[in-house]
Structure formats: structure tokens, C-alpha cells
């Protein structure tokens, strides 16, 4: 095994699992995008939009992103602690249980077993499995940290610890339920409280899956691939604590102008604006790390992924808080603008950083160079253009929708029926589908390139 790592095969297993669920999740996304245009594609109950969308979101959040986080976390842990994983057998068991759980999750969601709470739809038996998986992960993270040989913990490890703690707290509390059968339960909270708890979870699932661990990768793999040390350690301390503190207050910005108590909405709005500062502290730290070495954007195939990734993170973390403003939320909420926002975060920031980190990790544990830098560049441009086509189109679509919903005649009556606003969306949905197709092509190139990098070469075999 290269570099004396004990967990190379587990890292490889999680990376390839992650890519598999990524391809599945994106294919489902394409099908959903087509269903928006041709409702006849809702061919069977299990393929109907309402069920399929849930498999798409869960497959990509839990299947792709979590597996990618596990792969890169185990890798970073060993490197940053200069210590082998504390319980390699446990990590291997976690890999198998993880894939089994994701497969069962997909099947149960296709079958319509879901709690309807967004990104938390799994029914209670699978919630128990998710908690078990998380404990397995936490034991390895904390165990390795306790046994470590490197005295100081680098910023990536702080974000990893925050991920472990936050996911545990929000996932368990949001999924408390009263079971009525093996496949059916009701939320422990009613009405307004259920909404408030759900979006506290929803927002912090974004924090602890799409932000903390991805920042951990960014802070580790950008310096590693560029050979440049991170610009400011002090800035990363400020960014970390204020981000982790601020995030938990903002859930209700998903519930602006609903029956949730107004003070909770206003507090959420205030903290959403506050969060721009620590988010941009990481963006600035990334940009300043490049310092006078911007030529590496061209000369190093990985650096551009991380820099574009953190740029989309920066755009997201300004766009998100502005969407919480009452004037804008009244105009944009419930429109296509919001899926546009979410997809720039996931397709831009999260996927760019994870796929680039995986190239680095896979080349390193295989003890050789990446299969093809050229293909990695093709992958980069396809997912960049595909994502922008997808997200910018949805922003415009959302604004059109918002205008149509709010347009009034001089006598105060409504200018458009709801159906008018649906009919106006079809051209936008077609462009979104094409953007998704480009994106999928880019990810297919990535999958091939990563697989070829991970394959044993002729002389090794």
C-alpha cells in the first residue's frame, strides 16, 4: 500500500461508491427535469415526480455527498494526524452498511415510504441505521484524533469535528417520531413546531453536509494541490467559530411569511445576514492563498476546481441571505429561483470540490498520477458550463414566475392565472434539461477518469 496508509482500500471503496450514487442521482435528476416538460413520463407510481424527487435529493445528499465526505475525511484524518485510522475494520463495516442503507433508502422511497420532511424523508427504521452509521464514523474520527501523533489539529479537522457533532444533533432531533408500523410514523412535533424544527434541521443539514466538510476539504486540498500554504490561520479560526455559531439560528429563513412566530423569522433573517462575514472569510482566505500565483489556475489542473468552487460558495452565501429579506422572499420564494440557488451550491461548490479532492486522493492512494489530465479538464469545463446554464436559467425563470404571480391590473385583480405561469416555464425547463445533460456528460468523464486512475496497472497486477 502506498504511503503506509492502512485505510487505502476503504477510502477507495467510499470514493467509488460516491461516484456510483452520483451517476444514479444525476440520471434521476435528468428524468425529473424531463417530467417537468412531458408529464407523460410519469410512467408508474414509483416514477412519478413526487416520489422520484425524493430519491434524487436523498441519493445525492446521502449517497454521493456523504460517501465523498467519508472517503476524503478518512484520507485527511490519516494525513493530518500522521496516524493510521483507529478502527480500520469498523470503517470497512461502515462502507458495506452504508451502501446497503442507501440501496434500501432508495427502494423504500420509491415505494412511497416517506415522512415528507425534506432531506429527512426516510422512515424510522432507516433513521436508526443512519444513526448507527454516524456513530461508526464518529468513533473512527474521534478515536484517530485521540491517538494522533501530530500535536496541533489543522483547521480541516475542526470542521470535521463540527460535522460529526452537528449532523448527530440535527438528524436525531428532527427525526423523532411516533411509529405506527414498520414503514409508517408521525412526527413528534405538530404544525408550526414541526415546521420550525424541520427547517432548523434542513438548513443545518446544508451546513454540516454541504458546508463544514466541504470547507475541510478546501482547506486541505487547495494547499496540497497548489503547494501554497493557507493564507491566514487566524482568519480561519474566526471563520470557523462564527460560522458554527451563526448557522444554527437561521433555519426559519426558509419559513419567511408563514405562520411561524414573527420573532423567530426576524432572528433568522438577522443571523442570515451575519453569516455573510464568516462565509466570506473562507472565500478571502482561499483567494489570498493564491496570492501572486494565479498562473496555477492554468498550470495546475486541480487548482481551478477549488478556486471556482469557493467562488460559487461565495456567491451562494451572499445570494442565500438576500433571499431571506422579506421584500425578496415575498417575490422569490416558491419559484424556480430557489432550485437555481440550491443547484449552484451543490453542482458548483460541493461537486467541484469533492470531485477534485477525489482525483487527488485516488492518485495518491494508487501511488501514481491521474489517468488523464486532459479528461479532467474536459470534466471541468462541461460541469462548469452545464451548471451555469442550469442555474442562471432557473434564476431567470424564477424572476419571471415571481413577476407573473404578482402582476396586477389597475383595478387590483390578477393579471395571470396560475396556469399562465406554468406555461411560461416550458422554454426555461428545456434549457435547464440541456444544462443538466452537459453536466451529466462532464460527470461521466470524471467517473471514467477516476475509475481508470484507481485501477491496478498491468505491471502491478
Amino acid at each position: 500500500m502506498a504511503n503506509g496508509d492502512r485505510s487505502g482500500s476503504v477510502v477507495r471503496g467510499f470514493a467509488l461508491s460516491s461516484v456510483f450514487w452520483l451517476l444514479v442521482g444525476l440520471l434521476l435528476g435528468l428524468w425529473l427535469a424531463a417530467e417537468m416538460i412531458y408529464p407523460a413520463l410519469n410512467l408508474a407510481p414509483w416514477l412519478a415526480f413526487g416520489r422520484l424527487r425524493v430519491v434524487h435529493t436523498n441519493g445525492l445528499i446521502f449517497g454521493f455527498t456523504l460517501a465523498g465526505i467519508f472517503a476524503c475525511s478518512f484520507y485527511m484524518l490519516e494525513k493530518l494526524t500522521r496516524t493510521p485510522l483507529a478502527f480500520p475494520g469498523l470503517a470497512k463495516a461502515q462502507l458495506w452498511l452504508f451502501n446497503l442503507a442507501i440501496a434500501l433508502a432508495a427502494l423504500s422511497l420509491f415505494a412511497g415510504m416517506n415522512t415528507s420532511k425534506e432531506y429527512s424523508e426516510l422512515e424510522w427504521p432507516l433513521d436508526v441505521v443512519v444513526v448507527v452509521l454516524w456513530v461508526m464514523f464518529a468513533v473512527n474520527v474521534m478515536g484517530t484524533l485521540v491517538k494522533r501523533r501530530e500535536k496541533q489539529m489543522y483547521v480541516s479537522l475542526w470542521f470535521l469535528i463540527a460535522t460529526v457533532v452537528t449532523v448527530a444533533v440535527v438528524y436525531i432531533l428532527n427525526n423523532l417520531a411516533i411509529p405506527v408500523s414498520i414503514a409508517k410514523s408521525y412526527s413528534a412535533y405538530a404544525g408550526v413546531n414541526d415546521a420550525n424544527v424541520q427547517w432548523w434541521f434542513g438548513h443545518n443539514a446544508v451546513a454540516s453536509v454541504f458546508t463544514f466538510p466541504i470547507l475541510a476539504m478546501f482547506y486541505y486540498f487547495l494547499p496540497k494541490s497548489s503547494g501554497l500554504p493557507i493564507y491566514s490561520h487566524r482568519l480561519s479560526i474566526i471563520a470557523f467559530w462564527s460560522l458554527v455559531f451563526g448557522y444554527l439560528w437561521t433555519g426559519a429563513h426558509h419559513l419567511m411569511l408563514t405562520p411561524v412566530p414573527e420573532w423567530i423569522q426576524t432572528v433568522a433573517l438577522a443571523f442570515s445576514i451575519f453569516l455573510i462575514a464568516p462565509s466570506w472569510a473562507s472565500v478571502i482566505n482561499g483567494y489570498y492563498t493564491m496570492g501572486g500565483n494565479w498562473d496555477k489556475m492554468k498550470s495546475n489542473y486541480l487548482v481551478k476546481f477549488f478556486i471556482l468552487g469557493i467562488t460559487f460558495y461565495g456567491l451562494q452565501t451572499v445570494q442565500g441571505p438576500t433571499q431571506a429579506l422579506r421584500a425578496l422572499t415575498s417575490f422569490l420564494h416558491y419559484t424556480e429561483y430557489i432550485p437555481g440557488h440550491v443547484h449552484m451550491g451543490t453542482m458548483g461548490w460541493v461537486t467541484m470540490v469533492i470531485t477534485a479532492s477525489m482525483y487527488f486522493v485516488m492518485a495518491n492512494i494508487s501511488g501514481r498520477e491521474i489517468h488523464s489530465v486532459k479528461l479532467a479538464n474536459v470534466h471541468f469545463w462541461l460541469i462548469l458550463v452545464g451548471q451555469l446554464m442550469f442555474t442562471v436559467t432557473l434564476w431567470i425563470a424564477g424572476i419571471v414566475q415571481g413577476v407573473m404571480w404578482k402582476a396586477v391590473n389597475p383595478d387590483g385583480s390578477l393579471m395571470y392565472t396560475f396556469l399562465d405561469s406554468v406555461a411560461a416555464m416550458y422554454p426555461f425547463w428545456a434549457v435547464r434539461f440541456l444544462g443538466g445533460l452537459l453536466y451529466f456528460a462532464g460527470i461521466s468523464v470524471f467517473a471514467y477518469n477516476l475509475y481508470m486512475t484507481s485501477r491496478p496497472t498491468a505491471q502491478e497486477a
Partner: protein, 328 residues
């Protein structure tokens, strides 16, 4: 202790992180759970019946909340489009809440009582048949599945709806009798979408329609005793567009978008009464027709004044007048 040693002690660091994330959690999420003002309860809003509970579970199973919201925001255009804004009391019995996050389809918080059951049977079975540009999936197959009621008693007990298994059985029997009776007002459309073998049973589609008719119903009932919106328009008696050909053409467009799905092509009739006729159920004067369109009528005629405005309601009336003439 040197503060920097925090970055050398992983367990201590994890505890510190847990403390830092709990502050916002406590204030915005945990404490509100124990404040009765967060989720007020009103006797005006009733728990779901046994059938409505099952219908709601089908709504969850099919993920309807992925495209439909159930919360009307206190915004002028939103109230005009959907109805009165949502009150916290209305969600008191909702586990889980179903406010949603995206409106690919319209909000449903005020769907109850807006249309007759027949409208929903037809629409669920074939949305594009009613609205060509709609992208809603068809749910005709729900009518082909008998409603599973084996867990209903356990469900209402877990949900704390305050009635027992015997009451569940009574409600199910009563509901079955209602929807299968020949006198059921939507019997004709129900029999068209329901296979022969299940016509005497409660289907999943029956339960879904029952649930949709519950949405916002209690609030509307409470408000009906307080104020009638159409009363303010009683003074409208004279059609400013009488005999105006352009208004008639505009009226035809308004009719196609808003009225045709129920009253049929050129007023031939459907779920709603035939309009290409010389006599009308609620009177045939200009004032009567205006009042019907503007304020709605019992049994499924929605009030169109808030969304269309006075001007377009009169144009629609002008077109209806034209239909009468064509018939002669």
C-alpha cells in the same frame, strides 16, 4: 489553561463545538417548543376524520408536497389568488406539517370546498384533459386501489385526534355509504374513473378527494358566519359592457381560462350547470350573474372577484349573455 490548547484536545473541542451550536438551537427551536403561543390551538379547527387522515397519508406517500405548498402568505396578490392567509391554528393537527417549499403547482391551503368532488375526480385522473398546459402527473391509478384501513385506528390514536376505533369504523362506514350512494352529487364522474369492482368500496382516490376538501374548510366555515365578501358588491346591477363586442371576445378568453373546465365548451355544462341556457339557477339578471361569478355559490362555484376584478367579471358575464343568444 491556554486557549490554544483547545486545538490540541479533540474531545474538549467536540464539547466546545456542541455548546456553540446549542445556543442558536435553544433560542430558536427548543424554547419555542414549550411556548403555547408557537402552536396555538383553536376549537374552530377540527382534527381530520378517519378518511381524511388516510387521504393525507396518500398525499404524503405520493410526495404531493414536493410541488404544492399549503401556506398562503399575507401578501395582497397571494390572498387574491388563493384566499385568506394561513393562520397558525390551522396547523395544530398536522403531523407532519405540509407547508412545502416550491410551487410547481398552485397552493392548496384553500382548496377545500372550492370545487365539487367531481372536479377533483376528473382532474386527478387526467390533469391534461382539463388543463392542456398543466404538467401535473395523472393519478388515475389511485381509483384502482382499495383504501387500506387496517392501520387507521392506530393512526388516529397516535395522532391524538380524540376518537376511538369504534368511531373510526362508524366514520368509514358512513363515508362509504355517502360516496357509493346514487344520490352522491359527484356519482357520475366517480363511476367514470372508478373500476366496476371497486365502485362499492372506498378507493384511495376517494380518500384523497376527501382530504383535499378538508384543506382550509374550517377556516372558511368560521369566516362565513362573520362576513360575506359578495355582499359589498350587491350594488353592481348594470353591465357596463352590455352589447359590447370587444368585451364579449375578451370575456370568451376569460371564460376559457377560468370557467370552461367546469361549465364546458361554450357553456355546454359539466361539473357546473349549463350556461348556454335562457334560465339560470340563481337568477338571470345582470346583477344575479355578476353576483354568482363574483361571490361564488354553494356547492363548488368559487368566488372569482378577488382574482379577476370587477371589470373582467362583467366581461365574463357579457360572454355568458352571448352564449344565451347563440342558443336561441
Amino acid at each position: 489553561m491556554n486557549i490554544n490548547s483547545l486545538y490540541e484536545k479533540p474531545i474538549l473541542f467536540a464539547v466546545a463545538a456542541a455548546v456553540v451550536i446549542s445556543v442558536g438551537t435553544l433560542v430558536t427551536t427548543f424554547i419555542p417548543l414549550f411556548l403555547p403561543s408557537t402552536q396555538p390551538v383553536s376549537p374552530l379547527v377540527k382534527p381530520y376524520t378517519a378518511v381524511e387522515t388516510e387521504g393525507r397519508d396518500i398525499y404524503l406517500r405520493e410526495g404531493c408536497n414536493n410541488c404544492h405548498t399549503q401556506t398562503v402568505r399575507p401578501l395582497r396578490t397571494e390572498v387574491a389568488r388563493y384566499g385568506d392567509y394561513s393562520k397558525p391554528e390551522e396547523s395544530a393537527w398536522d403531523r407532519p406539517f405540509l407547508w412545502g417549499s416550491r410551487r410547481t403547482g398552485p397552493d392548496l391551503a384553500r382548496a377545500g370546498g372550492k370545487y365539487p368532488d367531481a372536479w377533483h375526480y376528473r382532474h386527478m385522473a387526467d390533469p391534461q384533459g382539463m388543463f392542456e398546459k398543466s404538467n401535473m402527473p395523472a393519478y388515475a391509478w389511485l381509483a384502482k386501489k382499495k383504501l387500506d384501513t387496517s392501520l387507521t385506528a392506530r393512526k388516529v390514536k397516535a395522532l391524538g385526534y380524540g376518537y376511538d376505533g369504534a368511531e373510526v369504523a362508524r366514520q368509514l362506514a358512513a363515508f362509504r355509504q355517502t360516496v357509493t350512494a346514487p344520490a352522491y352529487p359527484s356519482a357520475q364522474v366517480r363511476s367514470q374513473v372508478t373500476p366496476a369492482a371497486l365502485q362499492g368500496e372506498i378507493t384511495e382516490l376517494d380518500a384523497m378527494v376527501a382530504y383535499l376538501q378538508k384543506l382550509g374548510r374550517d377556516l372558511k366555515a368560521a369566516q362565513a358566519t362573520v362576513a360575506r365578501p359578495s355582499a359589498a358588491e350587491a350594488a353592481e346591477t348594470k353591465n357596463p359592457y352590455a352589447g359590447n363586442h370587444e368585451a364579449e371576445e375578451e370575456g370568451e378568453k376569460i371564460y376559457k381560462e377560468n370557467c370552461r373546465s367546469c361549465h364546458g365548451e361554450k357553456g355546454a355544462g359539466g361539473f357546473g350547470p349549463k350556461l348556454a341556457a335562457t334560465t339560470h339557477k340563481y337568477g338571470g339578471s345582470d346583477a344575479d350573474l355578476f353576483s354568482s361569478v363574483a361571490g361564488g355559490r354553494p356547492g363548488g362555484m368559487p368566488a372569482f372577484l378577488p382574482q379577476l376584478g370587477k371589470d373582467r367579471v362583467w366581461k365574463a358575464v357579457t360572454y355568458i349573455r352571448h352564449l344565451e343568444k347563440e342558443r336561441r
